[in-house]
Every structure is written in structure tokens, then in C-alpha cells.
């Protein structure tokens, strides 16, 4: 991979990461935020891969796109279940 191509890839990855992180904050409904966080994790994993950090990319893929959103979704499910019973 030559240097210009790397620069372009890194720039794109950085911008996508920034946008995805912003999206994850602005998604105020938790279930949608879980999805946005998964996207943001994906963007980060891509960025890390471009930055020659495959180990970190793999971790972020496992944690950022799978475990964290899953935990949030499970929490949302529990929270919602309570709310339905309240009615």
C-alpha cells in the first residue's frame, strides 16, 4: 500500500469515526443508540485496521460492535418490560 492511498484511507476512516460517534451521542433513544454504537464500533475497527492495529481492531469488533450494544439492548429490554407492566 503506498503512502497516498494510506492517507486517503486514514482520512476517510477518521471522518467516518467522528460522524459515527456523533450519531451515537445524538441517538437519544437507547435501542437506536445501541445500533449507532455498533456502527461506531465498526468505524473504529476499520480505523484501527487502517492504522496497522489488527489486534485492536479485532478487540473493538468483538467488544464495540457485539458485546456493548448487546448489553445495552438487554438493559433496554429489561427496562421496557418493567414499563409495560406499569401500565
Amino acid at each position: 500500500m503506498n503512502n497516498t492511498a494510506a492517507t486517503v484511507l486514514v482520512t476517510i476512516a477518521l471522518l467516518v469515526t467522528a460522524v459515527a460517534a456523533t450519531g451515537a451521542v445524538l441517538a437519544r433513544e437507547p435501542a437506536r443508540q445501541a445500533a449507532a454504537l455498533a456502527v461506531s464500533g465498526l468505524a473504529l475497527a476499520f480505523l484501527f485496521a487502517v492504522l496497522q492495529a489488527p489486534d485492536v481492531a479485532l478487540s473493538e469488533l468483538a467488544v464495540g460492535t457485539a458485546v456493548t450494544p448487546l448489553l445495552i439492548l438487554l438493559t433496554v429490554r429489561k427496562v421496557r418490560r418493567g414499563r409495560e407492566r406499569d401500565r
Binding site: 503512502n3 494510506a6 492517507t7 486514514v10 482520512t11 477518521l14 471522518l15 469515526t17 467522528a18 460517534a21 456523533t22 451515537a24 451521542v25 445524538l26 437519544r28 433513544e29 437507547p30 443508540q33 445501541a34 454504537l37 461506531s40 473504529l44 480505523l47 484501527f48 492504522l51 496497522q52 492495529a53 489488527p54 489486534d55 485492536v56 478487540s59 473493538e60 467488544v63 464495540g64 458485546v67 456493548t68 448489553l71 445495552i72 438493559t75 433496554v76 429489561k78 427496562v79 418493567g82 406499569d86
Partner: protein
Amino acid sequence: MSGVMGWLPYAVAGWILLVGLYGLATSRNLVHTVGCLAVAQSSTYVLLLAVGYRSGGTAPVYSDAEPGTPVVDPVVQALVLTDIVVGATVTALLLALVIQIRKRHGTVDPERLTELKG
């Protein structure tokens, strides 16, 4: 690298931190608060990996590269790995607290938790 690329990664890290802080300061749902904390944390990954990057370097794994090829800084990668684990566990613990708050307070809206003040 020079020009925009010289500072863009650092600016992105700063932006992510500020966005995360904004989300935390204005959050109206505790689950969302914990999510925003995870976002704020990702700024540390970006900064550390950007600091350790070396133009033209490859991944610091010598199973397929010849010893002697320039590699990017492995130390920051190890730090970020540790950081990711820490972040995931903190998120899990805080979400467990949110679940219990929902049970005991009947809400996850921070404005409606009014028992600790003054």
C-alpha cells in the same frame, strides 16, 4: 505526513471527547448516559493509536514480516487493548446499576431521581 493529516487524528479525538461530554451533560436517559460514556472513551483509543502511528510502518507482528521492517508503535496498541477491556467492564457494571435503578425508582429519567440533593 503533513498538511491536514498532521493534526486531523488529534482533532477527531478531541471532537469525540467533546461530543461524549455533551451527550453526558444533556442525557435524559440513564442507559443513554452509559452509552455516551463509552463514546467519550473511544476518544482515548483514537488519540493513542494516532500517537503511535508511523507512516509506512506495518503491524507489529513478525509472523509474516521480516524482522527489521519498520512497524507502528506496539506499546500504544497494547495500552488500547487494556483500555477496551476496562471500558467494556465499566459499561457492564454501570448498566447493571441502571437495571436496578429502573426496578427501585421506576424510571431511568435522571430528572425524576430526586432523592439525593442539598
